[in-house]
Subunit: 307 residues, 2 copies
């Protein structure tokens, strides 16, 4: 019987001023998903087997988009999905988005649907509802496209890669913190309206960040990866962030941001960065905040890998 195996990487959305726009994929972690047709059970049944995932399809990031896809393409067969979850759940590293993207990519292959990447985003976005209540496209776009992506439109979804020649390297600071209904909460903290002035300031940063990726100029990324709206509105969720950011930039990181809705902090670094200085400083900050954490090192990764 035919089995499709998909590997989908961890992702970080927002990147400072790019709320609901920018994201990137990194090889810090990767989920693996195997999908096969279930010949025994008739009638589009979706069976999900895995560690640390809700077994009910409707409540599962991999299951919900599949229900939508099965309905739209009138697929009557049943499938079994085995998920090996390696991306930490609820950490802001795109765990739910990766499962959703992997599930749609596997079905696309298994049923020869020839979906475009943007069509895959449309279905995979539904998976984000399962975990956060709101469909948002940035993490799934990064899972599907790989590298640095920008979401141009959500309805219909349209994304594209921002090409960069930079050897981007990342340190993820993953606190052992569980915030219930985190993404829903974090999204509710974003202000409904902003002043034009702060909008222009953030847009300047966004322009600088994108130009930095495209041109390979680290100073433009340093200037640009700074957010005065969304990150600021959520500071109470990540009390350690302000101090980490100030210290990390002093030690010449390329940039630092909250990864998605947090609590993970993503640090961009290169050869000019005092990496050990940063590690020591973060140890200090987190110890005095009484929060345990782990570090993960990664580089940019491509999109999903399909076997």
């Amino acid at each position: 019987m035919r089995k499709i195996k998909v590997k989908a990487y961890s992702t970080s959305a927002n990147l400072g001023p790019g709320y609901d726009i920018l994201a990137l994929a990194h090889n810090a972690f990767a989920d693996e998903l195997v999908m096969e047709i279930d010949k025994i059970h008739a009638g589009n049944r979706i069976r999900i087997i895995g560690n640390n995932v809700p077994p009910e399809a409707k409540k599962n990031s991999a299951g919900l988009p599949l229900i939508k896809l099965f309905n739209e393409f009138d697929i009557r067969e049943s499938v079994t999905i085995h998920i090996t979850k390696n991306i930490p759940v609820g950490s802001g590293l795109g765990s739910s988005g990766s499962s959703a993207a992997a599930s749609i990519a596997a079905a696309n292959e298994l049923f020869s649907l020839s979906l475009s990447r943007d069509e895959m985003i449309r279905f995979a976005m539904e998976g984000e509802c399962a975990s956060s209540g709101t469909p948002h496209a940035d993490n799934v776009a990064a899972s599907i496209y790989g590298y640095v992506v920008s979401v141009n439109s959500v309805n219909p979804p349209r994304a594209y890669n921002i090409k960069t020649e930079m050897d981007l390297r990342f340190m993820s600071i993953i606190p052992d913190v569980h915030i219930p209904e985190k993404t829903k909460l974090a999204r509710s903290m974003v202000p409904f309206s902003i002043t034009m002035e702060s909008g222009i300031r953030n847009s300047r940063n966004l322009a600088s960040l994108i130009s930095g990726f495209a041109s390979g100029k680290r100073d433009l990324i340093r200037d640009g990866m700074d957010d005065g709206i969304v990150e600021r509105s959520r500071l109470s969720l990540f009390p350690y962030y302000t101090s980490i950011k100030a210290n990390v930039m002093k030690k010449n990181a390329v940039g630092v941001c909250v990864s998605g809705a947090g609590p993970t902090i993503l640090i961009l670094y290169d050869n000019e960065t005092d990496l050990h200085g940063i590690e020591d400083k973060i140890d200090q900050i987190m110890r005095s905040a009484g929060i345990t954490y782990r570090r993960s090192y990664s580089t940019l990764s491509g999109g999903m890998e399909i076997e």
Copy 2:
């Protein structure tokens, strides 16, 4: 006696979603400015001679930044400035910015001040006060840097070029319309606050526009050169714009925007654009609006040329 001659090109600011951020320089028009030391009159006197320019230094875009520069560098000599104004005044093509930039560049050369481009922006911005009451950096940044520029910060001014390999071509539609105190009025129409949602939509467009320039993908520019905040708030000033925009995009232009605070409309086109179709359509639209206008064709230009 030493004479410095500077040629400064016309510019278009905003480019849709890049209000107070993006601008570009084109060779549609160029002002020429000649500056020489006036040995006869002592005591930092600034004499301005030219067609269609206010002779009083304080009220003149070339004079005002020079007063600031003379004060700051304690320059005691007098100068005579001859301005040949070719950029139409009050048209949204950066006429005042070009004079200001040319004046500062000439003084930089004449008095060997070794100003950086960003320092030149700082002084030249003052010239914008003479014509609009507000210092803004976008047009002077384009005059000084040339090509496509992004303003990263206004205080202190910091700008950079967005590199593009595209063979960008422009049609300027310059209506014979005079709006008194136009820039001041147009700036007062911009809303004080915006919804986060419309901010995100505009930021998506800005991201797409910049990525389009950087990658040479015309579709990203087509998607991105669309503004739902600033252009929309000023529509009553340019009643012909909505119809021009819709028709020009239908005929496959790369993009269309209001040039700065208008009334000029800037159209980006390439080989895929139905240029004659656009010309005919605009003739029709402007005729039925009862507005005479002229067209000008140009390409991207560099920064100032100094002899």
